[in-house]
């Protein structure tokens, strides 16, 4: 009998976490799915209206803007953060003298929340008081940088700030990956006569595949949660040019009292996220079968 219980200990240990997640994540997703089919406005309601919210949702211009923005933003954000992180990691890996000093500089933005840095970035990017004005006051009159005020370009300023925040973290992950590479492989390549650039391009970077995947998970997680960033930086503007699904969902659920539509946008967003993450997870867990 006691042995039986012992056999179950691992499962019992895992159970609380599993239950918590089951309720607080999957239960809530399910609940949102339910809400998205009801006529909920300010508070949840029981009135079943089928897919009406979804139909309404896709008729909303701003929802489409939000989806397009999410696409642009997450692609650029993930791509640039990854490339920049990798690039910095490679540079730092060249036996750099002040590495211990530079690393925290690259890394620290991850420690700040956008509530904190939002104002600084907003100022910094504002043509009237920020970098443009500063350059003007230094006599470089032709300098122009007013993306944050330009509906077409504003989304890219969100990218700039987001990349600023997390590329250092990605750098750390890649640096760890680079440090983990067997030095003999580098030596073998050196012996083959390959120049540094080729060694990285042909050998080192392909070996970083697991790091690419891990950083993708972290960045995707952050991209989805870009809410604070957008609110702090542009407030969704100019106009609604930087609307994102997260801000859209928030405003429909909490300020416009259209909880049903908000929930349906949440569900669409979850579907999009899961359709990217689940295949990754699957391959990850599958390859975990080696032993």
């Amino acid at each position: 009998m006691l042995d039986r219980i012992r056999d179950w200990v691992p499962r019992i240990v895992l159970a609380p976490s599993f239950l918590l997640v089951l309720i607080f994540v999957y239960g809530f997703i399910f609940y949102s799915g339910y809400l998205s089919m009801t006529n909920s406005r300010m508070f949840p309601s029981d009135e079943w209206i089928g897919f009406a919210n979804y139909i309404k949702l896709f008729k909303l211009r701003h929802w489409n803007t939000a989806l397009v923005n999410l696409g642009i933003f997450s692609f650029l954000y993930i791509a640039i953060s990854t490339i920049l992180g990798l690039f910095l990691a490679i540079l730092l890996d060249q036996k750099i003298r002040g590495e211990g000093f530079l690393r925290p500089i690259y890394l620290y933005p991850m420690a700040l929340s956008f509530i904190v840095t939002g104002i600084a970035w907003k100022w910094f990017l504002d043509p009237g008081i920020g970098i443009e004005a500063t350059f003007h006051s230094w006599g470089w009159e032709s300098f122009h940088f007013n993306w944050i005020k330009d509906s077409k370009m504003a989304i890219y300023t969100v990218v700039i700030a987001a990349v600023w925040q997390s590329s250092g973290f990605v750098m750390a992950m890649f640096l760890a990956g680079l440090r983990g590479i067997d030095t003999e492989i580098m030596r073998a390549a050196e012996m083959d006569g390959a120049p540094k650039s080729l060694i990285y391009r042909k050998i080192v970077i392909p070996m970083m595949r697991p790091v690419f995947l891990s950083s993708f998970v972290v960045l995707a997680h952050l991209a989805i949660k870009a809410y604070d960033l957008v609110v702090a930086l542009t407030g969704g503007g100019p106009g609604r040019a930087t609307e994102m699904p997260a801000t859209f969902m928030y405003s429909y659920t909490f300020t416009r009292n259209q909880m049903g539509v908000g929930a349906s946008s949440a569900i669409i967003m979850m579907i999009m996220i899961f359709s990217i993450i689940v295949p990754y997870l699957y391959s990850e867990l599958k390859s975990g079968d080696r032993r």
Partner: protein, 370 residues
């Protein structure tokens, strides 16, 4: 193909001195094996010759020319790494041809070269696999292949067989020997396996703590060890090193041993002049397991076989041989007997000592007494 010579080489990491004045020279087409216990500096020496590590002082010459300041790619060498260091993301064929690609060799030429080494190493069917899909022995061959497509002045092997199991090891060893014979390229080879060292080398360098202990042919190192360290290190099972007392009786010199049973016996010694200076003192007698055997197994060509009775402590039949463990001079001593020699643990048996193969060392300096 080129000769290699190393002059008074020093190498430090920070203030840790790893190589302390190494002098070596290997002729064109020679096979130099570096041996020594773990951490003695073998890989470091190899890396400095290859140009992968900077040296602190001294000089390295390949083909008579100093290579000081040349990067590895300019030294015209090829290397097989201990961990193989295969590029995990490339196929076997790509691994082999990467160096040529870098050197912008024509595609057709590259393919011919790949085919040549693939045939030589019998890895033709593996060419499209990735290293992750290969067994240890196959990886080893690919790593060799990568070195062999080149036609360098010198080949370097850093413990290339240490990850293989015994059977594959023997096969690969023979393969390397044959390759060397065929291509005639100078080879520098690191190992801590004595058998490998002895079978492959034209010259062996024994290192310890960054000092060169002995440098010579395998036979010199095995039969004529310069000190106790070399004697003990080379050979497996290693040489028995037994304290004994020198007895000089006119012309005749002999050494007295104490056996486990409490019996003392003498062993006559010929042609070791140096011993007379130690009359009455304790020295160390070195005798290899194969020179201490059952009378039937003793070398019929030797003229110094002496038979003595000893107590057997443990018997280890090992298929091809039977090892008997006895106690001489208070030390555990191994005798290698024929597979079907009749010995029983705990009983006294007759052993044949081949004194022609015995060597003697000073207890203090550990140096050979000649």
């Amino acid at each position: 193909m080129a000769s290699l010579s190393i002059e008074n080489l020093y190498k430090s990491y920070g203030n840790v001195e790893v190589l302390k004045g190494i002098d070596l020279e290997i002729e064109d087409g020679g096979f130099l094996v570096l041996v020594g216990p773990s951490g003695c500096g073998k890989s470091t020496l190899l890396n400095t010759i290859a140009g992968l590590e900077e040296i602190t002082s001294g000089d390295i010459m390949i083909g008579g020319k100093s290579v000081a300041g040349l990067p590895p790619s300019k030294r015209d060498i090829a290397m097989v790494f201990q961990s193989y260091a295969l590029y995990p993301n490339m196929t076997v064929a790509q691994n082999i041809s990467f160096g040529m690609e870098v050197r912008k060799v024509e595609k057709s030429e590259r393919e011919a070269a790949i085919k040549r080494v693939a045939d030589m190493l019998q890895i033709g069917e593996l060419l499209n696999r990735k290293p992750g899909q290969l067994s240890g022995g196959q990886r080893q061959r690919v790593a060799m292949g990568r070195a062999l497509v080149r036609d360098p002045q010198v080949f370097f092997f850093d413990e290339p067989l240490s990850n293989l199991d015994a059977k594959l090891r023997v096969d690969m060893r023979t393969e390397i020997k044959r390759l060397h014979k065929r291509m005639g390229t100078t080879i520098v080879y690191v190992t801590h396996d004595q058998i490998e060292a002895l079978t492959l080398a034209s010259k062996i360098a024994v290192l310890k703590d960054g000092y060169l202990q002995q440098f010579g042919t395998p036979a010199e190192v095995y039969d004529d060890p310069i000190n106790m360290f070399v004697a003990d290190f080379m050979g497996s099972p290693s040489m028995n090193l037994v304290p004994a007392v020198v007895k000089v009786d006119g012309e005749a010199t002999s050494v007295t041993l104490k056996e486990a049973g409490g019996i003392e016996f003498d062993l006559p010694v010929h042609n070791v002049q140096g011993l007379s200076a130690y009359a009455g003192k304790t020295i160390v007698l070195g005798i290899r397991p194969e020179a201490l055997t059952d009378p039937h197994g003793a070398d019929r060509t030797s003229d110094q076989i002496v038979e003595r009775q000893c107590m057997v402590d443990v018997v280890e039949p090992a298929g091809s041989d039977t090892f008997s463990i006895l106690h001489l001079g208070g030390k555990q001593t191994i005798a290698r007997m024929r597979a079907n020699a009749q010995v029983t643990a705990g009983e006294t048996t007759t052993f044949a000592f081949d004194m022609a193969k015995a060597v003697f060392f000073d207890q203090e300096t550990t140096l050979r007494i000649r």
